[in-house]
Subunit: 160 residues, 2 copies
């Protein structure tokens, strides 16, 4: 099913797309990690991901996300009590996840995380991470993403 | 605004009611506590509540819930990093919260918690907790609610 297609669940007033955005506002994560790598330009492997975690005994909504986006994996998280739905492919993030959350936006301040995340994915989807300007922009957007977490070291450590 | 009224957010495809149900599926709690009390019939004060907690820095959706239901309080949770939106009034639970989640149902197995919770609130809203039959039914429904938590002592401890 296309992520962009609006769908009402049978015999319900419920709108699935809005429901999933509400769920993701609470439980979703828009994350970008940087791993040192000799194989990647400028020495860093940049990995954006969208994920949603939930206890194994009520993971139904993770399968709804997977069906809705038509991609992504569901696997046990590091803790053995939870499952994590995750999309890591830049193309899928750029063509499915980002258009969804632009159309059905997060209504909490987590939206700022999404916006930084979306900017990074769009640069990467156009190959911008392979030139200096694009790479520097990614570092700037990543600095605003997940502020306060241990990822904050990124901007200070990474030099182009 | 009536909780039952469907509303599209301005210039968006988003359906607010579905969004809030999705959010509550992840972050909401349908809870019933039992406190010993000499003032209450059968020696127990039964307190149902619907609550949603969130970090203080992205609590916008708690205020959306409050506006949507037109009742409930928002206050700091025991942890000082979070805020909790809570509705404890039986009338409000019976006339606003339960009709909402019947129309825009939870799609994970948390729905079972909601159904036990709704059964208890409906009994209490009709005064059924003041007679032996109703009180016993409440204990039975509470036994299925939040199974596995410390509340599980309830059925063994409470005798009518």
């Amino acid at each position: 099913m296309s992520a962009a297609k609006r769908r009402y669940l049978p015999e319900r007033m419920m709108d699935e797309a809005s429901y999933l955005s509400g769920y993701a506002d609470g439980e979703g994560c828009f994350c970008v990690t940087f791993n040192k790598s000799r194989r990647h330009k400028f020495g860093w492997d940049i990995r954006p991901s969208f994920s949603v975690s939930q206890n194994r005994d009520r993971a139904e909504v993770l399968y709804m996300f997977q069906k809705y986006f038509g991609c992504g994996t569901i696997r046990p998280d590091r803790s053995d009590k939870t499952l994590k739905y995750e999309i890591r492919g830049v193309t899928e993030l750029a063509t499915k996840v980002i258009p969804h959350f632009e159309k059905y936006p997060l209504l909490s301040s987590k939206r700022k995380d999404f916006e930084s995340f979306a900017a990074i994915v769009k640069i990467m989807n156009e190959g911008g991470h392979l030139n200096k300007d694009g790479f520097e922009k990614i570092i700037q957007f990543a600095d605003g993403l997940n502020a306060g977490s241990k990822k904050k070291y990124v901007r200070r450590q990474i030099k182009v």
